[in-house]
Subunit: 281 residues, 2 copies
Amino acid sequence: MVQLIDGKKVARELVDKVKQEVATLPSSPGLAVILIGEDPASEIYVNIKRKRCNEIGIVSYLHQLDSSVTQDVVLQLIDKLNNDPKITGILVQMPTPSQISDNKIMIAVNPKKDVDGFNPINIGNLVLKKEGLQSCTPRGIHKLLKYYNIPLQGQEVVVIGSSIIVGNPVAQMFLNANSTVTVCNIDTKDLKMHTQKADIIVSATGKKHILTADMIKEEAVIVDVGIIRENGKIYGDVDFENVKDKCSYITPVPGGVGPMTIACLMENTLIAYNLQNGGEK
Amino acid sequence: MVQLIDGKKVARELVDKVKQEVATLPSSPGLAVILIGEDPASEIYVNIKRKRCNEIGIVSYLHQLDSSVTQDVVLQLIDKLNNDPKITGILVQMPTPSQISDNKIMIAVNPKKDVDGFNPINIGNLVLKKEGLQSCTPRGIHKLLKYYNIPLQGQEVVVIGSSIIVGNPVAQMFLNANSTVTVCNIDTKDLKMHTQKADIIVSATGKKHILTADMIKEEAVIVDVGIIRENGKIYGDVDFENVKDKCSYITPVPGGVGPMTIACLMENTLIAYNLQNGGEK
């Protein structure tokens, strides 16, 4: 019998824990969000993040920039926020317009304020298994698997999608847990050959129903990172209706990975605050 | 018919190129090597590195420390070298004794002098595909594959071993080239299941003949990073005698990856010099 991985519940517990800790701080953490352009999905995310901040006691600052903004202007804003003591976390909502280099943005954010964990030093620290600011979605996924006592060591893991935002760091976290990890991408010739042998599959492509029931083995664990909006409905990467009868655990969309990403962002904002105020965590 | 990948030849060309560039510099690059304890294999490597430095025009400085040295003493030495302008590259010969945390060492080395590419910022830059100081052995492997026009995009790659020194960064380089990458480790339950489907196999375990002919498919490309000394003879991870009749390309041990690691170290020392002297490369 399949078990639904309840991201809402696990995220709620984490948010409550962060809220309690924030209440004990001498000042409020401040999260600056930079939103470029008018992508409706991004606006939804940004609103959820703001709501969660308010609830927890984190002051949120929204910097909304025109879609035609130059990279220099964005970098200047990041520099200002890097040096603003009331800002303890900085987040640039991805994706950004084509004139902006995501990598340049990632490098520009002060590593101690880098609540997305995209600065090279934070990416490197993850590889070196050093505590610090780690990318929110992969961290959320690992918290979910841990919550449901799903073993990782020696497990066959397939990650579909190799983006710097999800696929790459999530693969790194499985490597750190001594899983055997296969990372597939758009050039992979035979995706099914890999997925049908996997104990755990993380799909992060944003392609509706790229993972179907015939591609997985019985009792696999399925983590769906995709969020695709189509005619007012939300779909994941996974053909949920058919896959759910074959796998052992599955994250629904919505209500699976999504809430954990937000909750981990809140936790990261607390960690960043502590990093800037002499704390270790 | 198998083709031997001639690491000596490719390394020689790279060393000659570096030598020519070093001759045009206003001052000599300086490479500090920290050798802890008396591991015979490490001493051999350090001697080869010194010889190559002399040949190229890089001044090499050997800091030989007792095997019982404390981590603090090593970190103090690194700090001194970080601040010494005549030292443009710093290398700590791995492995180090158990009282020394390799990760702490990697974090301590000035990223611009980090000729091994182990500092988190350099590891992160590799993930972000940013030019800079990259780990020598993986870089050497990629140069070899490029030299022999072996395609990477869409290829099935299996990396055996997930160390921070070789397995992890070599996997990252294949990801950057849009290969489908599987990283196996000591907990992998069925190594053969993976290797027999691979177009390219990189073995970096240091276990004699862990890869045998029955484990590979016809025409696979085999890269052997292992160097095992036994009764005065040198072996690789790969059962060379039997594998060579089945694969399309193979690196011999010795004379394959080894010389490329040293040549890339020389190139990195030049890159580091340029980084510290305002150059872009």
